[in-house]
Amino acid sequence: MLVTVVARDRAGHAATAMAAASIAAPSALTRGVQLTREMVGPWRLQGCARGAEVLAPLTASQMQERLSLYPSWGRPSWIPAAPWTAADLTDAANHGGIVPVGGTSVMGYQIPAGTWVVAHRDLSASGLVVEGDCSGTRAAWPGVLFIGCRMRAGYDSPGFLNQNGQSAGGITWVMYCDAGGKSTAKADKCETIFESQSYMPRDHLYVIRSHLSNATTLAFLRNSGDAAIENFGENVTDFGFGDFYHLNGVANSGGQSATLWLRNNLALARVPGSTALTDVVQMAADDGAYLGGGRNLDGSTGYQVRANLLGGAQYTLQLGYDKSNTVSQVRDVHVIDNDFTTSQFPESGEFGIAYKTPDFTRYGNEWSGNRWLDGPNAGKLITAPGASN
């Protein structure tokens, strides 16, 4: 923060003084249990009470402009051409720009040069089409950063972001956003908030420090190396329609080589009138085996479910050993240092902590440091569940 003071006398003679200070990143978390709703979302970025944040809306018409390097599109008119760096982070009047040469570090995450930045916007009028380099047919596209934005509408699959069946070829960052349906009312049904599209290894989706709520699935991470970090989730619901919905917290789908669930607060209560959540963290077996070996944003490998607060659903964890996946095809799964709460059920999930569980004694799988947060066994380590499907 750079402050400028101008002193001017009646004759117009002026003198200037300046003072500078840094505005630090929010304190580093070590576990999801430390994360509160107040520590995520645009209100945190603007340093105000939730709901008092100032966000400039885009109209549905404006949001028809695609994020695409297809010649008839290009950078949308509402993304400024000005350089944007982390120094602009908390400026609610700054609505983005382009990350300059050298990139910029936002809360410790290195945002590549050339990334388009959308900041302090209310994007609830519509979804956005993000085509990027149109499956590699155009110039390289580093990606887009949505920071301090709101996306609250009744999004059907694939959610707020629609890639029109194309690989964007870059990273989609979602940081300090407030996203999901407008409410849990039927009229506000939101199927999924963010869903990546299995364009591996070109595309990545990183959802960080965001408030995710009012949806049947909070985030569906289908590229290798996608990540959900330090998000606060709540109100996963079928909106009372009575149809069958598979209600998840944060999921991937199978076939990825790496996925990161890190320090999220996902103690998910059943919404009154809704069917039960199936799981809080889901490694689904719909799109292939879990052979691991891929690299995550934090440098770890494979499937990392680490240091989260977890609780609720029928089973809190679904871990990939299902359908056509054999026990040897679920590898490199690391469930480490999570806090499981009994706030919803005595065994975390209604029927237990985990199901469709890999073999934690081999294949590079790891279960360690997982503890009960509360209840009669508070503080005690939880033993690894046996392999089962």
Binding site: H13, A17, A19, S27, D91
Partner: protein, 89 residues
């Protein structure tokens, strides 16, 4: 007419988002100065009498505070030589 003198100091070197920020501004204008006027009268016998009045010549100074984050700064106090402003990081 001379140019004003101004100095600005923040109460901390770093803040977390949401913290209160206090800025203290000291300022003056060299044209502002105290003066005395002495009037002396002498009668026909040569007896003098004097009267002195004091006055302050003030060249008023207007302050404006802005920052690179477009924050709203609120003036908390102003003595005419020291002004205190606050905002939220």
């Amino acid at each position: 007419m001379a140019t004003p003198v101004v100095n600005a100091v923040l109460d901390r070197q770093s803040y977390a988002p949401g913290d209160m920020v206090t800025l203290t501004v000291t300022y003056s204008d060299p044209d502002s100065k105290a003066a005395q006027i002495t009037v002396t009268g002498t009668d026909a016998a040569g007896h003098p009498a004097s009267v002195t009045v004091s006055l302050n010549v003030v060249d008023s100074v207007a302050l404006s505070v802005t920052d690179d984050g477009a924050r709203a700064w609120t003036k908390v106090s102003d003595t005419g030589a020291v002004a205190v402003y606050s905002t939220t990081a």
